[in-house]
């Protein structure tokens, strides 16, 4: 009896040496930040083993301001940012690697555009030069983020040395309440097990709540596996998965599809397969969540209050809470719904997909933004779809700014960032100190909650705005 993880891992073993396995890598995704990998390739005169298994995306450094995008890369005022984008262009051209970059209708964040292309398929091993590569595991594969040296190894050999992680099953049962989303579920999981809770584990998300989720929702859940320390996040493939994949650029067609589908159906964990660790979550108990601190486990239901370090019994946490509150400029015991925000960011590889924009638009319809609010689609494909549905017009009518696809204010290295002290309601994945710009303060939440904060100018329970349809 094997788990989904076991099946994928065992299918990719090239060799074994002591405690490590040489795993075959089916797909490797890179971005502008992969310059260190190409630097090493050049320095050592190494070639790329299989350029057709490497895929490059311009996302981290690409500007999302529509006017700048229209003017082209040569017009970028910051020479360092321009250099990163041009380096990726030169390096991918040199080695014959496919690039989905500036001006390409398939451009987008690697974890949004990659699945749209059909690159993320059940049963494969996929690595990415970005920690949120765990996103792709939503399709029933083993996907994980790697550093520059490991990326160099992968592009040079198409393999990677790994110690076999333990398996952790997180079972989520029940129906999501009104206003509760996949983002709230994963924030609740991280709050429960902690940012180190899954270190050394490959997570499988299971249960009726997960089974009912769309692929976009599943990707949101798997995306933040790394915020619990997990090596990977996986979900068993099912008809929802196959429906998403059918007909995409890189998915098999015709007879090859039937062969692939028959194999994919063998991948889910066998009933009774043993996991190293089990965690359970009751979906019905989850309320819309917001983070109040400086890491993703410091999250509470929006109905709560800022924690009081003095009331924390664990001495270590007491110190951590006090530091977090000092950085965040928050007073203990203040209702979370009273926290005023300066800006709102809706987007990222966590929440930049069409379902996310639909949820944000449903709230945007109810009023008008009272603070600067950006909506940044995760890919050009998402952007086109949103525009076809008229979501862009809903956003602009509500005073939200509609931008071009990219990582934008999540990575905050492309010109989009907070100024010191600014407070942002954000649908991204990390509220670390300075993550959205030096001195910036981030509250993580779902797209609907972020849109609600835009209308009110403070954190607010989206359920209070009504709008149920």
């Amino acid at each position: 009896m094997k788990t989904l993880f076991d099946k994928v891992w065992d299918n990719h073993i090239v060799a074994q040496e002591e405690d490590e396995t040489l795993l075959y890598v089916d797909r490797c995704l890179i971005h502008e930040g992969s310059r260190h990998t190409f630097d090493t390739l050049h320095e050592r005169g190494l070639g790329v083993a299989h350029p057709d298994k490497i895929f490059a995306f311009s996302d981290h450094y690409i500007p999302t301001d529509p006017r700048t995008r229209a003017r082209g890369v040569a017009s970028l005022p910051d020479p360092d940012i321009r250099n990163m984008i041009e380096l990726l262009e030169r390096n991918t051209d040199e080695y014959g690697i496919a690039r989905f970059g500036w001006g390409d209708e398939r451009q987008g964040i690697l974890h949004v555009a990659g699945p749209e292309l059909g690159l993320s398929q059940p049963g494969i091993v996929l690595v990415g030069a970005d920690s949120h590569t765990s996103t792709h595991g939503a399709f029933g594969n083993l996907s994980f983020g790697i550093g520059a040296s490991e990326t160099t190894h992968v592009v040079a050999t198409q393999t990677i040395w790994q110690r076999r992680p333990e398996t952790l099953r997180i079972s989520i049962e029940g129906t999501l309440g009104f206003g509760v989303t996949a983002k709230d579920i994963i924030l609740a999981v991280i709050a429960k097990i902690g940012i180190g809770g899954a270190i050394g584990y490959a997570i499988e998300y299971a249960g009726s709540t997960i089974a009912r989720m769309s692929m976009n929702e599943r990707m949101t859940v798997c995306n933040m596996s790394i915020e619990a320390g997990g090596r990977a996040g996986m979900i068993a493939p099912d008809d929802t998965t196959y429906q998403f994949l059918a007909g995409r650029s890189f998915t098999p067609k015709g007879a090859a599809w039937d062969t692939a589908l028959a194999f994919w159906r063998t991948l889910p964990s066998d009933p009774g397969a043993a996991f190293g660790k089990e965690v359970e979550l009751d979906a019905a108990s989850v309320a819309p969540m917001v983070t109040w601190g400086t890491n993703p486990e410091q999250a509470l239901p929006i109905t709560g209050r800022v924690p009081d370090p003095e009331r924390e019994t664990n001495a270590e946490r007491r110190g951590e809470y006090a530091k977090a509150l000092a950085y965040m400029g928050l007073q203990p015991n203040v209702p979370l719904g009273d926290i005023a925000v300066d800006r709102v960011f809706i987007g990222s590889c966590t929440n930049g997909r069409i379902d996310d924009l639909r949820a944000a638009a449903a709230v945007a319809k109810l009023g008008r933004a009272v603070v600067p609010t950006w909506v940044v689609p995760g890919s050009e494909g998402v952007k086109r779809q949103a525009e076809a549905e008229g979501l862009d017009r809903i956003f602009t009518a509500a005073g939200f700014e509609w931008r071009e696809a990219g990582c934008s204010m999540c990575t905050a290295i492309n010109g989009d960032q907070l100024t010191p002290g600014e407070r942002c309601a954000s649908t991204s994945n990390r509220n670390f100190q300075g993550r959205q710009g030096p001195g910036g303060r981030t509250h993580l939440m779902s797209p609907a909650m972020a849109a609600a904060a835009a209308l009110r100018g403070h954190l607010v329970d989206v359920r209070e705005l009504g709008g149920r349809n």
């Binding site: 490590e20 550093g147 198409q158 670390f432």
Partner: protein, 205 residues
């Protein structure tokens, strides 16, 4: 890769949990090519004011910690982003080993690929070491990889575990890519068998 055998020298206590890689290397420095600039990039926004001046109260800006070769830190060290620049920063500063109760997985692997040894010791042991280091600024410690022992400022020996193949690579300074190329035959055989069993995975011609 530079081999790692035994390291002795000044140890700096970073008395803080959850030092994520955004702290170790703020994102805007990820575009910097590997090199000497990383000495000042490590924990940049903790060490420097917005105008570039040093924050004198941050421990790494104080003597004798500028000469530290070992860091002892709280749990969840290096969680978050996969950026290897976090390791470049530590190495650039001169730190070759970090001791903590646990590490982010990607940071842990990135360290091993660069000749920086991450040592996991139990939480109470790490707390004890931090207390000892805070009490005796400039105290030295030793990290002995062949023996798999950390020697604290008080001379007490703490055994640690390290994965066998990683240990071998570090001790010999093995080049991982050259090592993997010895498996070229096995990789070729895998590719052939995958092409027949999973033909849909092959890139379209």
């Amino acid at each position: 890769m530079e081999p790692f055998t035994t390291l002795s020298g000044i140890a700096v206590p970073l008395d803080e949990a959850n030092l994520d890689t955004n702290q170790l290397c703020p994102t805007r420095f990820n575009k910097v090519a590997k090199g000497p600039r990383f000495r000042d990039i490590l924990l940049h926004d903790r060490r420097f004011n917005a105008d570039g001046s040093e924050k004198p109260d941050y421990i790494l800006n104080q003597e004798p910690y500028r000469q530290a070769v070992i860091a002892v830190a709280g749990r969840n060290f290096g969680v978050g982003s996969s950026r290897e620049t976090a390791v470049f920063g530590l190495m650039g500063f001169g730190i070759r080993s970090v001791i903590a109760p646990n590490f982010g997985d990607i940071f842990y692997n990135n360290s091993l690929k660069n000749g920086l040894l991450p040592v996991r010791l139990p939480g109470p042991t790490v707390e004890l070491l931090i207390r000892q280091l805070l009490a005796r600024p400039g105290a030295t410690m030793t990290v002995d990889l062949p023996e798999q022992v950390v020697t604290g400022p008080d001379g007490a020996r703490h055994r640690f575990e390290v994965a066998p193949l990683s240990r071998k690579r570090l001790l010999r300074g093995l080049d991982e890519i050259a090592h993997t190329q010895e498996y070229a035959g096995a990789i070729r055989r895998f590719e052939q068998s995958q092409a027949s069993a999973f033909p849909w995975l092959q890139p379209a011609s």
